[in-house]
């Protein structure tokens, strides 16, 4: 008697839940660069990483190609090392490429700007585990002001 109606309504309930989950999964959640996508790892050593955090974006000309996997301090020379996880889709960057820590907007969060180097005839591509040699550290406001004052003093 009421069982059929009950089952129908419970069916609607389940379908509503599934569609709500799909809405969350498709429209709300960050699906740009998921962790299970095949990726390769590069390392970059900076003097100062500013406000860079794990999961910050790695961008080439504004296109996100990867994320910061982790950040740690090199125990020997005390420089921060940033571990970058880049999508396998973009795996032919020359080894003359450079990275810089940039800020999106005036108050935005920091990300890694990846500048591909020139591709000569016999260029070597960056492979899994390579270190990027050419790095530019984050700008720290206090350092900038300090340099400015110093250069004014020396004039």
């Amino acid at each position: 008697m009421t069982t059929r109606k009950t089952e129908l309504m419970v069916g609607f309930f389940v379908i509503l839940t599934i569609s709500a989950t799909l809405l969350l999964a498709m429209k709300v959640v960050n699906q740009g660069f998921s962790d299970n996508e095949s990726s390769y790892t590069l390392y970059a050593k900076f003097d100062n990483i500013g406000g860079l955090k794990a999961r910050s974006a790695v961008k080439v000309g504004g296109v996100t190609v990867g994320r910061v996997e982790s950040i740690y301090l090199d125990p020997e020379d005390f420089n921060p090392v940033v571990v970058l996880s880049l999508s396998q889709q973009y795996n032919n960057f020359p080894d003359t490429s450079s990275v810089a820590i940039l800020t999106s907007g005036l108050l935005g969060e920091q990300y890694i700007g990846f500048q591909p180097g020139f591709a000569f005839d016999d260029f070597v591509t960056l492979a899994d585990g390579d270190y990027i040699q050419d790095t530019k550290s984050a700008l720290v406001l206090e350092d900038l002001i300090g340099q400015f004052l110093f250069s004014r003093d020396s004039e």
Partner: protein, 258 residues
Amino acid sequence: MNWVVQVGANTLDTIRSFGRAFLMLTGALIAVPQLKNIRLTLQQIYVVGVQSLLIILVSGLFIGMVMALQGYTILVGYGAEGSLGPMVALSLLRELGPVVTALLFAGRAGSALTAEIGLMKATEQLSSLEMMAVDPLRRVVAPRVWAGIISMPMLAIIFSAIGILGGHLVGVDWLGVDSGSYWSIMQATVDWNKDVVNGIIKSIVFAIVVTWIAIFKGYDAVPTSEGISQATTQTVVYSSLAVLGLDFVLTALMFGIN
């Protein structure tokens, strides 16, 4: 000396009721699920889940709308109204979805469960079941416990989704936030494991606690009309307090230390 006796008696009473609650839950859940019990669970999901759908949908929609309205008036002062999407989505997925759903569930379904089981006890239906060699824990309690645990996370997901749509309705359609930035900044900020899955885990914990309290209060009620009314009140009060307290603990565990 008398008040020491009183303290001791109260402590023992509390411990005994925890023990009874635990025995009731294990007795209900450690039973082997039977096919006909799945039918009963389905029936209870209808009562507990589907019939709570209206209040969840309406309050989810309005909470999302209010958050968009309040968030907009503050964010627009900083020229950051594009961040309305992540603000609405994160507060719904992490906190408001699970918590408000649990509070509404305690009021809408928990009190009904307590009253139903309490009245069954008062009219000796539970004893009659035992007389007929039917275990009331399996026949009456277990389907309700499972229905609660299954329904509440589903309701919380629906709550969050409809809230985000409500925020879109007010923020984008009425106040003129750019639709593209509403969704894209939300997507850049919200993380599946960190935000959505943690919200669902919270909601499962709340579901277990609220259903457990509701059913135990009914099962343990003094079998008089006064006792049932007291048990129903206690269900709502205790489960609301438990949800709000546990929410702080869970938030600290999930998002606090990073």
